[in-house]
Amino acid sequence: MEHQTIPACGDDTREHLVVVGNGMAGCRAVEELLARDPARYRITIFGAEPRVNYNRIMLSPVLAGEKSFAEIVINGQEWYDEHGIALIAGDPVAAIDRAAKTVTTRSGLTTGYDRLLIATGSDPFIIPVPGKDLPGVIGFRDMNDVETMLEAADKGGAAVVIGGGLLGLEAAHGLSLRGMKVTVIHLMPTLMERQLDEAAGWLLKQALESRGQTILTGADTAEIVGASHVEGVRLKDGTTIPADLVVMAVGIRPSVALAREAGIAIGRGIHVDDHMVTSDPAILAVGECVEHDGQVYGLVAPLWEMCRALADGLVEQPTGYRGSVTSTKLKVSGIDVFSAGDFASADGTEDIVLRDASRGIYKRVVVRDDRIVGAVLYGDTADGGWYFDLLKRGEDISALRDVLIFGQSFASGGGQADPKAAVAALSDSAEICGCNGVSKGQVVSCIAKGAHSLDALRGTCKASASCGSCTGLVESLLALTLGDEVQAGAKTVCKCTSFGHDDVRREIVAQAMRSIPEVMQKLHWSTPDGCSSCRPALNYYLLCALPGEYVDDQQSRFVNERMHANIQKDGTYSVVPRMWGGLTNPRELRAIADVVEKYDAPMVKVTGGQRLDIFGIRKEDLPAVWADLNAAGMVSGHAYGKALRTVKTCVGSEWCRFGTQDSTGLGVKIEQATWGSWMPHKFKIAVSGCPRNCAEATIKDFGIICVDSGYELHVGGNGGIKVRVTDLLCKVATEAEAMLHCAAFIQLYREEAWYLERTAPWIERVGLAYVQSRLLDDTEVRAALARRFFHSQSFSQDDPWAKRAEGAEREQHAPMAHFTPRKEFA
C-alpha cells in the first residue's frame, strides 16, 4: 500500500517549525508539541540518517540479537504522514543562515523557518591516536554502526572495545553474543566508574569475565595498528591485542558544529535557557547537544524533561526546565546494575551497605542530612526506582533509616514482599518506563481513559513498549488502578454477554445449540451479532461440540484463518507448507524455490518449527501458490491457525549416537494424526530422541522425551513472552501409548480450555493434578477422549488449500471490481 502524504495547503499561513535532527530528542519534542496543539505549526524534520525515527538506546538489544530494527522504530512513516510532517531523511542540514532564517542541506535544498529547533545530539569521541581513521574503527552511535558490527561479527574473529562505560560494555556484550572474541580496554581502574563505585565495578568485571570477555582496566591505548584495515590495538605498556574490529566508546561530545558555524553561543554544548531557547530567540535546541545551567547530559531521561519544557514554551505556556537528576541501568541481559545520583563518599555523607556474597548482591545507599543523595545497586535492582524516587523528591528518610537498605517492600511494613504495595507507594512523577519516558501518573491517566490492557497501554502511552523490562510494574499499575474491574472483565467472554467461557461451553452442549445466532439468542447476547472477541470463540466452541455437523462460519474467523495464510503488516501474506516432523525432500524444496521465484517473494525464512515460511505473497496470488505447492504433494501448514502447528523433532536413534528411540518417525506419525485439528489456541508438539532434548520438547504444549525405557510425556510448555517449562504428565512404555495420551490430552484441551487460552495458562488455571486425574485415573475416560479426538479428525483432515486452489471461495481473493480513473481524475 503506498503512502499518501498530506500536502501542506498552498495558503498554509501557520508558522513553520524546522527541526534539525530526526532522533529521539527531535521527534520527542515534536510529539510533545503535537500533544499540546496539533495544528499550530507546519513542521519539517531533517535527519542525517536515511531512516525513520528510532529508539537509539535500544541499539544494544539490536546488536545482541534481542530486537529487530523494526521493533525499535518509535514513529514509522505513517506518523509523519498522519501529522502532515515533511521528513527529509538522509540529507543533513549543512548550514543555517540566521539573517535570512533559512537552512540549507548538504544536497543544496534551502528551506525557510520561523522557529528552528536544533536536536543534533552528540558524536562519539574518537581518541586522537595513530590509526584512528583505519577502516574497521567505528563508534557505537547509530544503526550504521550496528550494521558494521553485525557484518564484522558474521566473519567471526576478534573485537576490541575501547571504553568500559555503559555504551562500551553493551557493545562488548552484543559482539560477544554474536560470537566474537571480545577485549574491553578501559583507562580507569574500575568499569563504569562514573556510575558505579569500586565494589560494584569489581562485581561487574567478574561477571563479564565469566562470560568470556577479557577486561583490561588501567589500560591506555597508544596506537591502532593495521595496513589497510585495522589489525590490532597497541597499549602504552607495549602489549598488542589483535582485532578485526575496534569500537570506540570512550564518551560522547555534544554535536555543536552547525550551531557554532551559525554563530550561536556555545560552551561544551549549545547554551540554552530554561525554555530551551538559544542565544538566537528564533532558535531552540534540545537533547544531548545542549548545555543547560552548566550541565550536558548523555542519558535519555533529561531529554524527556527538556522536551516537555520546550513544547510548553512553543505553545506559549512556559513552565521551564530545571535540570535533571539521572539514573543509569545497564542493558546487559542477566546482569542487573543500577545507579543514581552522587555516591562519592564525602564529609557529611553516610553509607548504608548490604552485601550478599552468595547471591552476588551489593547495595549501597548514600545519605546526607537524612536524604538519599545516591544509590548503587548490583545484582538486585528491583528497588532502584524507589530509591531514585526518594532521591528526586528529597524525601526525609529518617523514619526508614534502619530498614531502608532492605528495600521498599520491607521498609513499608511487614517484611512481606508485596509488589503491589510497592507500586502503590510510588509518586505520580516516578518513572515507570525508562525507554519511553513514561511516568506513573501518565500510565494511570491512560488506564483511566480506557487503556485496560498491557497492549492498550503499549499502544497509547508506550509504557513497556520497548525493552519490556517494566512490564511487571505496568501490570501492577493496571491491577491497582482497575481493581475488581480486571477480575470482573476476565470472567465473561466479552462485553456482549454476562456469561463466562465455561458457562457458554456447558450450555452449548446441554441445550444442543447448533449455530452462533442460536447461542446469542438463548444466552441473551446484548449485541446483534457479537463482536470480534466472541464470534471466533463461539465458532470454535460449536465446531468442537459438533464435529462433522457444524458449518464453519467464515465471517467469524480471524483473517489468517479465513485466508489460510498469515497477514503481514503491509497487507501481503506469508505461506508455510507442512513439512512432516521437519522432514523434506528435493521435490518439495524445488517446488518452494519455484514458488519464491515465480511470485517474486522477497523473503524465505526457516521457522522455529522446522519448516519454510514464504513471505510477501499477494492475496490474489494465494490460490495459485497453493496449487503449485499441492502439486508437489504439500498441504497447508496451519501456521496461521488456532490449530496444530508443527511437530518438531530431532534425528533420533536412526542417526544420532545418543538417540534412544525413533523420535523423527514418531514425530511424523503424530503430526499425521493431529494435523488439521482446530484448537482453542495454537498448539505445538515436539519429540526429542533423548534427554538432551534437542527438539526443545519441554517448552511445547505437548512434548515427548524418549528414554531407553520408553517415553516421557510433558505438557503445558510455552516459549512465548512468558516462558513456561512443561509439567511431566506421565511416562509410558510404547509408541502407541504415547500417541493415545497425546490425542486424549489434545481433546481434553479442546473441550475444556477457553478460546485463546494456551495450554500453559490453562494448566495453571485448572491444575496439573486435574489434568492427570482426567487422563490417567481411568483408562476408559482416556480412551473415550482419544476416540472423540479421532472422530473429530475424520472431518478436519482435508487440506483447505486444495479446495481453494480448485476455485472454492474465489471471492475471498478476487476483487469485486477494478477501476482505472480517466485522465481528468488522474
Binding site: 449485541t527 463482536c531 477501476f819
Partner: protein
C-alpha cells in the same frame, strides 16, 4: 446523474458480515461491506491506525474490527469507536435494483 456513480456488481456478491474489495488504479482500494442487517457500506480499505486492510476484518453490528490491532471502525461514519481516535474516509453507496453503486468522485479521490 449516472456518471456520478460506479456500478460495481450485485449486492449478493458481498457475503453477509463480510466484504469485497474494489481496486482503484493509482489509489487505495475501497472495501465494500455488507452488515448482518444486509446494509451495504463502502470505506477506504485502510485503517486510520496502522493502515490495516479493513476488508479483512470481522464485521459486527455497524462496525468492522481491523485485523491488525482490533480497532473498531464505524461502517457508516468511518470513525474509530471506543477509546481510539481516527477516521477512514467513507464512500457513499446506492442500491439500485440489486446493483451496488458507489460514488465516483469519493472512490477516485484517493487516486491522486
Amino acid at each position: 446523474m449516472i456518471g456520478d456513480w460506479l456500478d460495481i456488481g450485485w449486492v449478493n456478491e458481498i457475503p453477509v458480515r463480510g466484504s469485497r474489495v474494489v481496486k482503484v488504479t493509482g489509489g487505495d482500494d475501497i472495501a465494500v461491506f455488507r452488515s448482518g442487517e444486509g446494509k451495504v457500506f463502502a470505506l477506504r480499505d485502510r485503517c486510520p491506525h496502522k493502515h490495516g486492510r479493513l476488508s479483512q476484518g470481522i464485521v459486527h453490528g455497524g462496525a468492522v474490527a481491523c485485523p491488525l490491532h482490533n480497532w473498531r471502525i464505524s461502517l457508516s461514519s468511518g470513525e474509530a469507536l471506543g477509546e481510539d481516535k481516527g477516521c477512514t474516509p467513507t464512500v457513499p453507496v446506492r442500491i439500485d435494483a440489486g446493483r451496488v453503486l458507489i460514488h465516483r468522485a469519493s472512490t477516485l479521490a484517493a487516486a491522486a
